[in-house]
């Protein structure tokens, strides 16, 4: 019984690597700005608010914001930015330079700054 318990404990601990904040480990620490046009408007479903934008080079970026309620509280609703509107997002892009994915802390739309991840740089 003791052996079983120890084995179980070891398994459980091995499943807990040191993730600072889930999902951010694969993103750069430095901040990047991306300006583009909205191709998929904001969705406030799922674990995080998301949207897609196309930059000047034609790359389509997967934009991830805070959890839905917090993103909405920051003023970013699903109807805020229609498809085709221009937006600048500010945040941490994926470490893989061929992956156009960015976790966003702020975004600028219509000269207004939205703090979509309050407390994050």
């Amino acid at each position: 019984m003791k052996k079983v318990a120890m084995l179980l404990g070891a398994f459980t601990l091995s499943a807990l690597p040191a993730f600072a904040h889930h999902g951010w480990g694969g993103n750069e620490d430095k901040l990047t700005d991306v300006t583009g046009t909205v191709t998929t408007p904001v969705s406030l479903a799922g674990p995080h608010g998301t949207m897609k934008i196309r930059d000047a080079q034609g790359h389509v970026w997967d934009v991830t914001m805070a959890p839905p309620a917090r993103t909405q509280q920051a003023g970013v609703t699903e109807k805020l930015m229609p498809v085709g509107s221009t937006v600048t997002v500010h945040g941490h892009r994926n470490k893989n330079q061929n992956t156009y994915e960015i976790k966003v802390t702020k975004l600028t739309f219509n000269n207004k700054v939205y703090d979509v991840y309050p407390g994050m740089e």
């Binding site: 019984m1 889930h22 799922g46 998301t50």
Partner: protein, 162 residues
């Protein structure tokens, strides 16, 4: 893997998840965690007994009477809530390797439980004393069960960290 994910995303369940407010995912997530923890906890107790824990004091039949209905109910809730979480944005998980670990692990766990359930000795548990070979077989199946559910829970949690 893209086709089934696209399909589930476009079901009514997916639409419901996406179109019912910013808290839906979080609430369904809570139900999923409750279901998974209940399932794992109840399975853990029975598996430890099959591996030999408390063998002098607690009869397998008694433990199974208490634990199996809880496990089955929790499993059903986990399936429904899990499908809903996945359907929200299923195509976002196309390249997620943990999905490919989690689902086979669940299949192994279910298959193992199914086989145990139809094993003749299991049907007679509590009726007569187990032979050493049968006890060993139960211990092996308890171990397989524990490993498969541990893998499923671990891989399941890791999906969000990919």
């Amino acid at each position: 893997m893209r086709d089934p994910l696209t399909w589930i995303e476009q079901t009514g369940l997916g639409h419901m998840m996406r179109e019912s407010g910013p808290w839906t995912y979080a609430i369904v997530n809570v139900a999923h965690i409750l279901a998974v923890s209940t399932l794992f906890g109840s399975v853990l107790v029975l598996d430890l007994r099959l591996l030999g824990a408390w063998s002098r004091r607690i009869r397998i039949a008694d433990l199974s009477t208490a634990v199996t209905p809880i496990a089955i109910t929790a499993f059903a809730l986990a399936i429904v809530t899990g499908a809903a979480l996945l359907a929200t944005k299923a195509t976002a998980y196309v390249d997620n390797p943990f999905l490919l670990i989690k689902f086979p692990a669940i299949a192994v766990g279910m298959l193992n439980a199914g086989i145990l359930n139809v094993t003749p000795a299991w049907r007679e548990v509590g009726v007569r004393a187990l032979r050493p070979g049968e006890r060993r077989q139960f211990a092996i199946m308890g171990g397989i069960s524990l490993l498969s559910w541990l893998t499923a829970v671990t891989a399941g949690r890791m999906i969000g960290y990919w």
